[in-house]
Amino acid sequence: MNSNGNNGDLRIGFYICHCGHNIAGVVDCPAVAQHIAKLPGVVVSRDYKYMCSDPGQELIAQDIREHRLNRVVVASCSPLLHEHTFRNAVAAGGLNPFFFQMVNIREHDSWVHTDVGAATAKAKALAQAAIRRVRFHRALEMTRVPIHPDVLVVGGGITGIHAALTMANGGKKVFLVEREPSIGGHMAKFDKTFPTLDCAACILTPKMSAVRAHENITLWTYSDVVKVEGYVGNYTVTVRRKPRYVKEDLCVGCQECIAACVFKEPKFPDEFNVGLGKRKPIYIPFPQAVPQVVLVDPERCIQVRTGKCKQTCLEACADRQALDFTQKEQLVEIKVGNIILATGFKLFDAKRIPQYGYGLYPNVVTSLELERLVTSSGPTGGEIVLKDGRHPKSVGFILCVGSRDMKTNRWCSRTCCMHSMKLAQLVREHTGADATVFYMDIRAPGKGCEEFYDKSLKEGIQFVRGRVAEVTDWALAPEEEGKLVIRVEDTLAGFVRRIPVDMIVLAVGMEPHADAQEVRRLFNMSCGTEGWFLEKHPKLAPVSTFTDGVFIAGCCQGPKDIPDSIAQAGAAAAEAMALIDKGYIEQEPNTANVMEEHCSGCKSCIPLCPFTAISFDAPSQKARINEALCKGCGTCVAACPSGSIRQNLFEDEEIFGEIEGVLADA
């Protein structure tokens, strides 16, 4: 066995995979194998149906032993998928796994070309490139990176809460950072959850309390992440803690300060009630808020804005002295090994579809606004009322507002059909009003959901199949006076209908947060084309990202309901815990190192490294690379004027070999 293939006995094994019909349907695999067999150094050249299968892998291991192979090349699918698989197969045969090179002739060839001749020529060229490259491979070992046992969870909705509790119960120390003043997320605003109609607060608040009480969870609300440095297992995160002007450890949530505030009546729009209620400048977000701590709105509080207030709130808190108007923003640095993002979603702004009259007609509300009206702890005490205080006698539910729409958002928001049917049932229960749901399709997957649809039908909720064209207050007949008219083509009945109702509820879709792009850059991740955080693989790795150590869960990855969000939270927690329990992660050893005998000390490379892995050693006057810090980008390698830096797995000779091989046949 040679460590560089420049001299000595090169024995290369070449395997081209049919991948069933996926590759063989377009690329003439036997022809490629025959072509490669003729190249110098190739000892074995086979084509096989499924190389990644057990017998396929066994074939490699066997050939290594029988034919004393010292290099292996497999032409099949993308290395991003199976490089690891085949490296293991090579190792199983007793050869260092890094004497292996993979050729992508599926994603980059058979799947994207139709001309058999051209595809086969391309496969031959790519295979030849790998054959020339692999002779320069060296024996290497995977590097191990230790994993810090603490975890950061960003986002304190049901997903973040569940992930945090799962890991904390497993003995891990968790930092849960939430940017709102309380955890609970969107679920805290719901009344009852489908399909079981159990009360959202009843199932959520015990989990919220568990978070507060858990010795392994450090809960930082009204805080956000401002900087992330490091890499898997070794992240340094800076968290900004915004000033509440209340000392969290002293406030007991008695709310005497709120009662004593100089504002005798609540005056400002209440965020938790989506603007439907009012609050004072000093407030608690909602009665079950965790932490049960008051906060002061710096833009509305007279003391914070002008410094000239009677400060009756301070008097009310004389014995505990929890209020502190001198509080400032704090930046705290923490070290964690893994990060789980559970930042959730935002709702579509219904004003973007002016035909539905949101913002124009007062009795057109969004699904979340109705949710707050329905809740007994909401701004109307659970009374579903129109803006003038009357109870509605008829309510229309318009689905797919900002979803499945070429003009706004293309995707289906997955939860709105069930959500609207639930609201329709609750409206009927509370008011007895007529409820009509205007739909394109009713999507009710999940356990108990189709049965929920049946129940809605049995309860007398009307369903009209048609995408609503407009909501108008134009009245054509006496019964339409004073009402909102829904104009829709009833596609099952076959004509256009005008349906007057008192109140309209828009099932607004889910969207990524407005700052999703900034957040994902902060964590060195990608977003998909639609703006949701990008998972590593939509089927096989929905909670991992391309950045090791950063996981995503819940609606930030794509619209989903509560059961699926909790499932993803558990999945992300498990993946993080797997890394922590193993204690280390193995990474490809594609780091760079300086060949000191060639280095002239020109220092061109030193400022190039974003990870500050290169330093200048004054005594020897040479550049030196700290391989623990090196991430393997290769920028310094390309920049070195004398070619003194070498990157494992991507050495200059290896790349030149590929270039040569790919252009060898004219």
Binding site: H108, A118, C527
Partner: protein, 171 residues
Amino acid sequence: MLDTTWQPRIIAFFCNWCTYTAADLAGVSRLKYAPNVRVIRLMCSGRVDPQFLLEALARGADGVLIGGCHLGDCHYVEGNAKTLRRFLMLKRLLADLGVEDQRVRLEWISASEGDRVRSVINEMVDQVRALGPLNLPGRFADWDREMTGLEAQVRAAEPQTAPKAGELTHA
């Protein structure tokens, strides 16, 4: 006269995290594009040494395509910024060598932009096809012959006497 059986050969250097993944996505989505590009995978577009491009062209490639992450999105923070710098300088050099602008291209393609991989490759192949073969090896051979010929002419025209001792032949 263009050889009608000639097909452009373009070498592409794609970064692992963005463009290579986008090309995989194009494959998974079964998008179809011209088969003239051969991809070489690197971890970062910052690894692209200008010598790679020159080597590829010198060995007969008709074009070179570099694919990296959008600026600001580099997995290694700013490798692609260095690529951009080097690329701009290299283009000027290549222009002097007579390599047309459309033959050497730098594109930022993110992991979810499978369709852009398709459209960029198709567009580039069409452009290079219209330009015809670059055939640098052939040109180098021609220049070599030209130089050898000129050298012979110059020597033939020079006086045969050797320089006197002490006489300076060069400044």
